[in-house]
């Protein structure tokens, strides 16, 4: 029977309308010594107002430099069952489509070898198994790999790529997010498991600008589906929306960020040359509006949480690129970016921070992409378009 701790402070977090992680840990703590000590240590942290986890060091399975994150308690005598409490990242599947058979097996393996606590999914997108000791790492890896699963990324490596459900369930997808994610994962196994970057690198792929995977805020490289043609308008359906009570002027036209729509009460018009493909109107009037023409993606770089500099959103590097298997043009572009980062990046400097430090001009020159108006992140930034002497002579 696991030890039971008094947790008056954590109990406060069970009150209120939201699901509570404390309730969940308590459930696991009824069966698992690890989860019980985890709860005990956490209560102590709340009481003492400080964390008791140490992090890093030597952890992993043979041949891998990532996928396991070392956690150690700094109070091993008081909480011996969490003296080691490592996190295991399992590479999630594109779009997070699991079979219930796998989920059952995963839980059984984790009850046997770990704390029973999981996190589906971590911010990076991995299936996260929270808390096990060092001896259990190889057996856990064997259990998963024999079923066709692999560890995810961690450390100074490519992190587990993730994507929205894309064409599997969503009619707005302009690209096959699932296949792109799978292809990236297979192509760059070494980059994921054998850390050789200055710091982490994340890919997230969204089928359209609705960006259900939040790629714009969470990925060093955001791949967002878009289209080249016009938005086809079905005026009869527009009339239907109006009849059903939609205020088209207020809800659609006035909220178009590029102010390229107009509506006279009968006809909805779009000046497609000014449309920035934000998806607002299409998401609101799905039956009336539809993108047409060539489909592809916009490639953006640079979002990250605060560290060396504050949080950033990704910004456009390539406004439009075709995304069809085997994605060679895209992959070559990424390799050039990594080369730039490898050449100039400091330890623990994300690629976006490096670009801000060195300037867009050098970055674009290095990767061989022409400066384009879409790359301008905000007005009044230092200009990165300069004519060279050779340009001036033309």
């Amino acid at each position: 029977m696991p030890k039971k701790y008094e947790t008056p402070l954590l109990d406060e977090l069970e009150k209120g309308p939201f699901p509570s992680f404390v309730t969940e840990i308590k459930k696991a703590a009824a069966r698992s010594d690890m989860a019980a000590d985890e709860l005990g240590q956490l209560e102590k942290s709340y009481r003492d107002k400080r964390g008791y986890w140490k992090h890093g060091g030597i952890v992993g399975v043979r041949g891998y430099g990532s996928g396991v994150i070392g956690r150690y308690s700094s109070l091993p005598d008081e909480f011996p069952n969490v003296a080691n409490f490592h996190t295991v990242r399992i590479n999630s599947i594109s779009g997070f489509f699991y079979t219930s058979k796998f989920l059952n097996e995963m839980c059984d393996i984790w009850d046997k070898y770990g704390s029973g606590l999981t996190n589906l999914h971590g911010s990076t997108g991995d299936l996260v198994l929270l808390g096990t000791n060092t001896e259990n790492l190889e057996p856990i890896f064997a259990e998963f790999s024999s079923r066709g699963w692999d560890l995810g990324g961690s450390g100074s490596a490519l992190r587990t790529p993730s994507c929205c459900v894309g064409p599997a369930r969503c009619e707005w997808a302009n690209i096959d997010t699932l296949d792109i994610t799978y292809s990236i994962t297979q192509e760059w196994q070494d980059e994921m498991h054998r850390p050789a970057f200055p710091y982490k690198f994340k890919f997230k792929t969204a089928g359209c600008a609705v960006d259900c995977i939040a790629s714009i805020a969470r990925a060093d490289c955001s791949i967002i589906g878009t289209w080249k043609g016009n938005i086809a308008v079905d005026q009869a359906e527009v009339a239907n929306y109006a009849k059903k009570g939609m205020n088209i002027q207020e809800e659609i036209v006035n909220m178009c960020p590029s102010k390229c729509m107009s509506y006279d009460g009968k006809e909805l018009k779009i000046n497609d040359a000014d449309c920035i493909r934000c998806m607002h109107c299409i998401a609101k009037m799905t039956k009336a509006l539809k993108p047409t023409g060539e489909k592809g993606a916009t490639i953006l770089i640079g979002s990250k949480a605060p560290f060396v500099i504050g949080a950033t959103l990704s910004w456009v590097i390539v406004p439009f690129i075709k995304m069809e298997p085997p994605y060679d043009e895209f992959k070559d572009l990424i390799r050039k970016m990594w080369e730039f980062w490898d050449e100039y990046g400091k330890n623990r400097e994300r690629i976006g921070e490096l670009i801000i430090r060195k300037g867009m001009r050098e970055f674009l020159e290095f990767i061989g992409v022409e400066p384009q108006p879409q790359q301008i992140k905000e007005p009044r930034r230092d200009p990165f378009f300069f004519w060279t002497e050779a340009d001036l002579q033309k």
């Binding site: 890093g56 043979r62 430099g65 100074s156 070494d190 050789a196 330890n347 623990r348």
Partner: protein, 71 residues
């Protein structure tokens, strides 16, 4: 250059900097490829062998490093 020789060079480099400076995989690739006049891919390949054999391991201290495993 023979792969075994590259492996030896890598191991010596890591051994030499143990206790002084933690080396990243890219440090090793840059140093050895420049010293031995070989491509970074060759260095990477030899490093992969050393890791797979357990002679070297990856560690994490705010970033990922390559080190000799503790005895």
């Amino acid at each position: 250059m023979e792969k075994e020789e590259v492996k030896k060079k890598i191991y010596e480099l890591v051994e030499k900097s143990t206790g002084k400076k933690k080396l990243k995989s890219s440090d090793i690739q840059k140093t050895i490829s420049a010293e031995a006049g070989i491509s970074r891919d060759e260095v990477k390949d030899a490093l992969r062998d050393l890791i797979d054999e357990g002679k070297l391991i990856y560690t994490y201290f705010g970033g990922s490093f390559v080190e000799i495993p503790p005895k």
